[in-house]
Symmetry: C2
Subunit: 339 residues, 2 copies
DNA sequence: TGGCGCGTTTAGATCGATCTAAGTGTCAAA
DNA sequence: TTTGACACTTAGATCGATCTAAACGCGCCA
């Protein structure tokens, strides 16, 4: 039982290999009569196009390497979904890698992706990725799109989100509710999204003449956040509001606060980032800055398609807006001294 | 700027193409002296192995097509993670597809995967997948592993979970708490996991001499579940406990019940399935039957590796155990007639 | 000296497509 | 009748690796 090749198809249809090749590539150069004959032969023989062989000669592989730091984080899963949906429509296959935020794993995968002859890479760089990583790709002439995070000091196509509006709206809301003692809960992973969000926070605060009460770094899991609550709330100066780097941390804190009998929105205000589906699940609902990872993923994929078509086009940055979504976890300040 | 080929490497090292090929394939046939020379040449020229060309001759592509119904469901994202982690270690590249539970999309992807020359498929079949889908793959000699769901009437390697223990423990817990009027919330998607879980529920119920109070089908989203609560609770005979097909539904109901002022665990008992991270987030915590999607994914990938090595081995089924995790949402029955 | 075995190396065919450049046949214009 | 344009078709080289089968150098034994 041997594989059916284009030559078999050609013979069966009574044409040459070259003509059959033109048919499978939808070339306008063939007459409709021969096209039909070849297509009939293809169907009859159950021919399967061999992209591997085609790629070798034509050097286009119709595959893209996609590197995501952590698939189990729903936020990234949705990002990936957005990327996949666009590439799928464009006829590209997604070769996936989970970097676990490890630059070493990331390097390994890129090596493998090159062996597979991918047409390019879409990467959300692992925390701590070196500049060299991006520079190498550019040196090899490998199209590379960065998304959500960008390695500092590098210039490539980039798809991310504009944290400015959402963060300002969030801080503004807290300010209007009378909050002045606002703490920031960051994650322990260092990457550009982290840095940028924190910077936007400081900026929004100082625009209101405020200083952050503190910035605390926690491992980005529900559990770690939940556990950290007592320590956070029993500081010398107690915060009246907490703003978190993401919803994973915020939801963990939400639960931790409830454990202590401290009611989010009444006793302390809490705001997350990402507006994941679960924000609506807890009581009171978690106020959060909405970002649209699916759209960011789509943009990243579109930037990739653009770069494939115009390899020498100038680098582009696309950002999706963010906006604050108010829910019960954010409310007027309440001075504990009164109680 | 041309691509560096094995021939370039060979010339640079002063050996033949064939010898260089033996080196890159780690053949024991080459002397260590020539091996070193070739490896030096590879490093100096920055040679990148061309898997595409290799595959064509050797017909092993080191790629696997993985089809998942819905990436944005964290449960599947974790499954995918498990699959990826094993395949990555084994040197396989994952070509990913999101079927959105559409058999048509699924077919399209398989076509593309064949063109890419994947060595096999790992599939969680879309709801409504026809028998033909699996039979075709077998006919083509394409190794195929089914995971989590299996197309009825087909026999392949399969990695899933044993729903029996968890379901019996859950029903048992409800029974001990005095619940007799137990409703089941199913999803609107029909596939084997759905059917099997419902069957296990009926089985566990009748083992205790009970009949399900009702079986209600809902779209598997937080929102749909939340909205359905009033209707579910205002039936002629009010359920004292609800068991759900998955945690998405259960968490939606949890919130919907709270909206009505009906407290899970006190006024009505609620049990989910999957034990996702969010079960710990809501108050009271959501009791749930734990399943281990990461392990199921690992098993699926291992079954695949086994089949590649032994194409004619008998079909194997691997199941991960499930177990009930008790939390606050499940408590003693409370008769509303008393209130 | 010739023949044999052993470890290593190699030339040349091959995988299945695409590309190039040349070759059909047909028809209208010169 | 020749010419050229046009629409289509094709033989053969080619991509970059692997495979096969043969050859090489060397030592050993008859």
């Amino acid at each position: 039982m041997k594989r059916v090749t284009l030559l078999d198809v050609a013979r069966h249809a009574g044409v040459s290999r070259a003509t059959a090749s033109l048919v499978v590539r939808n070339s306008p150069l063939v007459s409709s009569a021969t096209r039909e004959a070849v297509e009939k032969a293809i169907a009859e023989l159950g021919y399967v196009y061999n992209l591997g062989a085609a790629r070798m000669r034509a050097s286009r592989s119709q595959t893209v390497g996609v590197i995501i730091p952590n698939l189990t984080n729903p936020f990234f899963a949705v990002l990936l979904s957005g990327i996949e949906s666009v590439l799928e429509k464009a006829g590209f296959a997604v070769i996936l890698a989970n970097s676990y935020d490890s630059p070493v794993k990331q390097d390994m995968f890129v090596g493998r992706a090159r062996e597979h002859g991918v047409d390019g890479l879409i990467v959300c760089p692992a925390a701590g990725t070196e500049k060299r990583f991006i520079e190498d790709a550019l040196k090899w002439g490998m199209p590379i799109i960065q998304t959500l995070r960008a390695v500092p000091g590098t210039v490539t196509d980039y798809s991310g989100m504009d944290q400015h509006d959402g963060m300002h709206e969030a801080v503004n809301c807290l300010y209007e509710f009378g909050h002045r003692k606002i703490g920031y809960i960051a994650s322990t992973l260092y990457h550009s999204a982290h840095t940028e969000r924190l910077a936007k926070f400081r900026e929004a605060m100082s625009a209101r003449g405020l200083e952050p009460l503190f910035v605390r770094h926690l491992e980005s899991t529900h559990q770690a956040a939940r556990m950290a609550v007592p320590e956070i709330m029993n500081q010398r100066i107690r915060p009246t509001a907490l703003l978190c780097h993401n919803d994973v941390l915020a939801l963990g804190l939400h639960r931790g606060l409830c454990d202590l009998g401290v009611m989010p929105g009444r006793d302390v205000s809490l705001i997350g980032f990402d507006n994941v589906a679960e924000t609506d699940l807890v009581i009171p609902g978690l106020a959060s800055v909405a970002t649209e990872p699916f759209k960011v993923g789509e943009s990243a994929a579109n930037l990739f398609l653009r770069r494939i078509q115009q390899p020498d086009a100038e680098f582009l940055t696309k950002v999706e807006p963010t906006y604050f979504v108010q829910r019960g976890s954010c409310g007027p300040v309440r001075d504990f001294a009164d109680a």
